[in-house]
Assembly symmetry: D2
Homo-oligomer: 359 residues x 4
């Protein structure tokens, strides 16, 4: 509303009214409608790039200086979006952090309502123990730790290891849905098997154990191994070479990690994918409601978000704020891990995507 | 992590590390874990009470001083939770406002992704026009305006009218899912029928028009009339008198407004209910994940939220932050309208409730 | 396979082979493929018409000669499709019968896995008691008795009453899914209220009792009253007169009876509808997978099924076998009750419909 | 109803009434209630055993005498339940047949609404081509051909091959839902790859191609290979040995073949499983609504159905009629393929199971 024409007398009344509103814990819509209800999403978060070598470097320093243990719980360093007011949030809904565990160290068991995953850029030697089931972490592996399952990590090797943690901490913190409970100081099973028990039950394609019928709200697969992801992407590109459907677009193979009991996303708030681009390939720019994070697994690429372009190599992380068009192009080929909050918005019928025609 | 024992040399290294983290847009988990991941939800929002007479008074003042029209769009005054940093949010997910329309005034048509409803405490004479269907607003009526439907309001009477607007503006603003589009200046149908076309199609109990099969993501019922709500609550109490099941607990009748195409909530982000307590009745204290707003429709009551107690009468509004136990007691009987964000958390398997045993 | 060219020696071997197959409980596909796997459904059932006056007459005779009671359980006379080999089936999945209860008579309580409904063409005075809840039966009412609920009927009036029973007996008999259990000899509640308790809880449009959340596999509404059905159909035709959507096709109003906890069909195996045609209106011929039964509630019409045409008046019943095109035309207007087995085939992704273009 | 006490005059009236009912296509309920509505399912089908060596023998004879080709479509010989009136049905819902294809032969392409699968007891050399995708058939493999997909078979080897076909022909025949369409005479792709394209897209555990989102009504996996089934069962027994959950009961491992886009059954009408019993193990007797067929893949066992016991070895088939308790016991260990119609009854809320306590 335009009060420009207000007489001094009118202005006095208006001032008195707004002051009274303040006393009554009231705020008018008309002065901030466009901020609250923008024409298209106008995220406070900005697109940003984090350099993996810097992340690894600072994580090693923290490994030297900061013990891991009860209270702090994890030696995890969060990627903080510069637009989000000093919060440790890469996006309004998403948390991304580098976690670091030195030789012989243990991160104590706990559980929380937040959904979590780990993605391993490099290294091995740590086992994540989820509800007593030890899950080996190796390069390229994607591990699921859904909300309210006890879990800890222990490094059984002589070397430090670092990986990417992804969680819905910001969403649950802002939504006031977070619960937390401490578990044991040591992991409950210190065995170091090559495969977890969960994988042995659930990682046979299209087969499910008769003893565990019914849909589960999150994936019972503790770890999606790199060898399977790699083969799936190879197969899509080979099918493309043979002239058959399979890829998302020319030269662009991609898989989604899914909950085998539903065919849907691995967790109710997190969607996770792996993309592979051939040399000289690129993706089509797309606007999506919600937030996306990309991490290079191998290779180099340029990631364009709205009018910014980021050059990325192994381990680097870029985030895409809501509704900002993004695309990836590569000269020499690239493998990318990606996660989003799309399941939240799909569940609530708030999800939209848009691709400009003719592109 | 306790750095208390750090030597000056160690502290210097730590300081350098934290400074470097800041430069790299990184924030450690271990210094703020309990804030980000509390044992139980620790909402910033506080319980608060808004007085209806004050709301009406300030709305009338705004009616005198502030025009309604394009840009500001609505003469709506939001109830702003004192704990939420000056935002016009009654809860992190929910918006509640008093909207006021003078005789002959029109609030122009627009549409937005935000889900909205209206609840009428008193008065009549306004029609909300949703996708061209004029819906009369009368005392006790509950009107649905689901996201992305064009709608405007016009006052066809010689008197002003005010009502409660409820929306998911805060949720969509923080989640960056909001879209907005202007429509016509005047409502597209200025007719003033007693019943909307939507009601004539959808308000026959258990019957649906064959021409509109399938589930819809929000309710096709434009208005839930007071006469039906009142009768449903009366019937529950009468059944209780006759010795049969029907009420939620002794003396406590309640209905949920539902989407007849699914049996679920009227909109994907908002749950709406109506409660009636007999004289001398009270509800059982309950902790719920998510946010609740209560408005007295008629009668008086005391609302207890955690360790605060609010005395309320017709039109007064109280909010309940996440996981704070709440209950209502009344001496002379009370009718209460209530809305929550529970569908969001149910859809994501994040919903919990807790009632202390023995109460 | 054409064995026409078989030499006598070959034929001898063939004969021996087929004889051996018989001994081993084996049957070749190739001799009956077209029967087992027709190009389009080739139902054994035929379209047929039953005259309500004849049905009423024979039911009255049975009322005089045959007692109602334990063992036979019900004085119900089934409409037996002439194509279905002497079975008491109006269709391979559906049962339709006229049930008759004399003044003061009681049909004892029992329960069975079969889903059942009643539709009342004329008369009143009987209460069906479902799980102890007495449900008045009056002209035009549609009553649901879903599987495994105890129920009985008693005639509290001084006059006999007859109505249409619809069940999925043939489906459950052929599928071997049927369970049955006797209950009390007398109905468990002999009260004669105008409205059942179930209606008082569930028949407020769009409102559900908070005490009974969640989806139920069948409708909790015991009876869909004629006044509501009639009003819903009137409203559709009035909307059509006003130029708005609502009817299925010009002059053809129709509603589906639904389960308010899901928006879907009243029972998992039975779909039930009510159709009203204006004078001079007709429906579009349609092929549907599955079986349909039509009963005239009021008025006269011609029902065309494939190449047969039936003239029908109040109470007359016509069945439509699977995939046979059907339509209704009327000179003076007609009200029709209809039920089908479509939910079975929709649930199994076997449902299809087809309307010839240009009609 | 007991008419024993009828006087001659009464009997005359009764006879006249029943005669008139016959003329009007009417059948009373009271004379056949217990047949139509039994206390528990009373299947006409009986338990039976078919000997694989006999099946193979007669199939070879048919291979010599009967050509395969258009019209008959398949050289398939159905296992006909002795209780089902000469129909080629192993159960009221299920079809099981041995199909035989000689060296170089082709079974022409067609499609039908019936759902089908193949299970391979022995041999190899045939490719089933589904919608143009050639699927190799090898020992232990389970192949899905869901309804309305074009498919043919061709034998690319120098040897004949036989396998088990399972379909829902009886269900669709009785329900009048069957559609059929001829395709090409030759299979549309005569390539003989080790893995089908569908497997390459869909057989990576927990991973789905991003290019094919959403639920599909049947499994997109064309073939579940023996190596995966075998490994899954081995893993369950190994977990049991290690003291962890995984098996259905002691010594009894089992998997269900599932649709990876839903986690549910491979097709809407057919459930398929593989069971492995250790030496000296046995299953718990269970009553189930619906029909089950068991085929020994390897080993020997005794199958008990109600009060009958069948001794079975590799390839032998036994069926279990609805609600008849069944169990398997083995001395030397046994592998069993099994299929049922349970998805039909689960979808309609008609499914029940019962295990006697204390067993």
């Amino acid at each position: 509303m335009n009060h420009a024409a207000a007489t001094p007398e009118e202005q006095e009344k208006l001032d008195a009214m707004y002051a009274r509103m303040g006393e009554l814990n009231l705020i008018p819509l008309w002065t901030q409608r466009e901020n609250l209800m923008p024409d298209v999403p106008a995220p406070a978060a900005t697109a940003n790039r984090w350099d993996w070598q810097e992340l690894i470097g600072i994580a090693q320093t923290a490994g030297d200086l900061v013990p891991v243990g009860r209270g702090g719980e994890r030696r995890a360093i969060a990627l903080a979006n510069p637009g989000l007011s000093g919060n440790a949030f890469i996006a309004p809904t998403l948390w991304a952090a580098i976690q670091y565990l030195g030789p012989g160290e243990t991160a104590p068991e706990h559980r929380h309502s937040q959904n979590a995953f780990r993605f391993v850029i490099e290294g091995e030697g740590v086992w994540t123990v989820v509800n007593g089931d030890p899950v080996a972490m190796r390069r390229g592996d994607f591990l699921v730790t859904a909300g309210w399952n006890f879990h800890g990590h222990h490094n059984d090797s002589g070397k430090p290891m670092a990986w990417l943690d992804g969680l819905d901490i910001p969403f649950q913190q802002q939504m006031d849905t977070a619960f937390f409970e401490e578990g044991t100081e040591r992991v409950t099973d210190e065995a170091t098997p090559a495969l977890s028990r969960g994988e042995r039950l659930w990682c046979h394609p299209g087969l499910r154990p008769l003893a565990f019928p019914g849909a589960q709200s999150s994936s019972p697969i503790p770890c999606y191994r790199w060898e399977h992801t790699d083969a799936a992407l190879d197969d899509q590109l080979a099918l493309e070479d043979e002239g058959f459907a399979g890829t998302v677009s020319p030269g662009h193979a991609a898989i989604r990690f899914t909950n085998p009991t539903t065919g849907g996303d691995v967790m109710t708030t997190l969607r996770t994918e792996f993309h592979r681009l051939r040399p000289a390939a690129s993706t089509t720019p797309v606007h999506e409601v919600g937030n996306r994070v990309l991490q290079v697994f191998e290779g180099t690429a340029t990631v364009t978000v709205a009018d910014q372009t980021f050059t990325v190599a192994t381990g680097d992380v870029v985030n895409v704020p809501s509704w900002q068009a993004w695309s990836v192009a590569t000269d020499d080929g690239v493998d990318l891990f990606s996660f989003t909050d799309a399941p939240i918005f799909e569940a609530l019928h708030l999800y939209r995507t848009y691709q400009q025609k003719g592109i």
